[in-house]
Subunit: 359 residues, 2 copies
Amino acid sequence: MSRARPTLTDVAHAAGVSVSTASLAFSASGPIAEATRTKVLDAAAELGYGGPNPAGRQLRSGRYDIVGVVIGDKLKRSFRDPVSVQVLDGLTSALGEADLGVLLVPGVESGIDGEVGVDPLLMSAGMDVAVLIWGAHVDDPRVDALRRRGIPLVVGEGNEVDDAALVEIDDHGGVLAIVDHLRDLGHERFVTITLPFRMGRREGWVDDARRELVDWTPTRHRLDAVLDSGVDLLGTYETEASLVENGSAAMRAILDRFPDPATRPTAVVAQSDLLAAGAVLALREAGLRVPEDVSVAGFDGIDLPWFAGELTTVVQPLEEKGRAMGLAVRQLLADGTVTRTSMPVRLRIGTTTGPPPAR
Amino acid sequence: MSRARPTLTDVAHAAGVSVSTASLAFSASGPIAEATRTKVLDAAAELGYGGPNPAGRQLRSGRYDIVGVVIGDKLKRSFRDPVSVQVLDGLTSALGEADLGVLLVPGVESGIDGEVGVDPLLMSAGMDVAVLIWGAHVDDPRVDALRRRGIPLVVGEGNEVDDAALVEIDDHGGVLAIVDHLRDLGHERFVTITLPFRMGRREGWVDDARRELVDWTPTRHRLDAVLDSGVDLLGTYETEASLVENGSAAMRAILDRFPDPATRPTAVVAQSDLLAAGAVLALREAGLRVPEDVSVAGFDGIDLPWFAGELTTVVQPLEEKGRAMGLAVRQLLADGTVTRTSMPVRLRIGTTTGPPPAR
DNA sequence: CTGTTAGCGCCTTCAT
DNA sequence: ATGAAGGCGCTAACAG
């Protein structure tokens, strides 16, 4: 037979002090005599009081000490992708240091097929700030919902949102560096494997019409860089997730479409390391050598302990990016300052790129 | 110049109804005329009202609609481990269906070296239920803290907690099946690579004293199964994380200690697939063939798209396990019922086990 | 179906 | 250094 949970009032009574004094004993936000404090804490322990009720505190203070982290459409995808994971890790540690909790928010509601509607949590959960890890797109309903609620925003990768803090990296410059490196090696026939374009995911070759539909910022920036570089791009293959198997499937499709070694692309620019690794595996399975027959480059600079060799890639400071988002949150909370940060990237030449085969 | 956020009272006034009626328009927890509802919602839109303030709702209703998910010591580790990720995925989807938010809670506070103290979030964040994904250990301070707060618990893997819902798998049976399979093939000399033992992580050979210190349930159950099976166990190597590189390092240590092919162990029982995969890579690098020279088995049954061949392993239903935890949460919330679930596992024979080399 | 009433538990003035 | 009072925004219970 358990009685109702004790409240601060009960503790105060038991300790023979006023409620406001008891409050001070827990919050340490005012002067209090050591003896009084001990008396209160003892009474609390006696009664089995577990500390101030968060709901009461939140209502009174107007703060939740919770940050809503909006991760793509499916949690699984974010967790499976080592890139997301590292960003999340930097973010959570920066937030943890400020004793801010991380509330995972799916973002979009998943319906039977396709996904429509904003997740109810986004509409109703208590949070001081929301972080859109993978950017906001045009007319993003999640942004609208958060706006209506008056919740400030931090956006990763994507510059379309006014009034929101932003953390981005130099996607365009990174891919340009990759392309230049390959061009310097003598490559002339390129193909690129891209990240997903938008929420309605699909896998396959990209035509002009489809190219107009790129909504996700990293995808767009990285693709634009290849187009802007002026190299001869024989094709663009869009994947529906940044996983090894998608990279392999894309590479097989590419080999299928270019069966003749004389006209086959010699340089593959993949928009992520996992896609690149998958492409390399598919090439090896097809009996081709990397980089002697085909060069492959990735993007991200993640660890692939199982990968034989080392990917040529653009290293982005993932954990730091997450930390920067965390700092942007803290800044927003501290004084409402909206910060914009851009992180540098760095070309890392590995063993998967080399001169094209002589003809 | 922005005025203060409107409250439900403002909306009610603007719509010309009482506050409680306005509340019904949002919560749908009572009868309300369609016309009234529209009137209220229109007034809300007019005023830019973003919906009921969560803090008010929480205080009044006593519910947060938030579940605290306590993941090991470092978020990174949980995210990096595909096993955790799949469990988390099943859990979050089961909780999402009930519109419950997931609050990530680190569990233990990380100090300069080592980790001591319960994370402040565990003490102070609002949550209806807490889930300890990777079990509770003896005298777990996190459990004590949650107990004091009166927060009900769901524990994955670990049966030491009274009064808490439990979801577990048949670790012992799974490893026994592996060992039997290897014994049937003719193996006589075994070695096992284990998951971390406890919070004070270390890497290296395990002696009798260390063996007493196993605190994490899956590690203990899986190790006990090998010991109970009665096979000749030449050594136990403890890792400090379930990652490919740890498996490789462990395997190198094993080869180092047993340089003579005649007395070398022929069967490696790894407590996770990633450890097993790492072991296989290290063996191949050492010029040994799997399974002709050495057989390797794992545990978990995860996808390893980059792995050449298929691991012999014990498949556990990870996503279902997560879902089961989610259901346990919902049960707890619905009527306080404490459920206990045990999930079955299944031996899957792949290409990494075979008869030992003839002598 | 709608309105009235009465707090939920806490923290922040402000006074002592 | 401590106490008294008020109210944060909402919803449950009941009355009409």
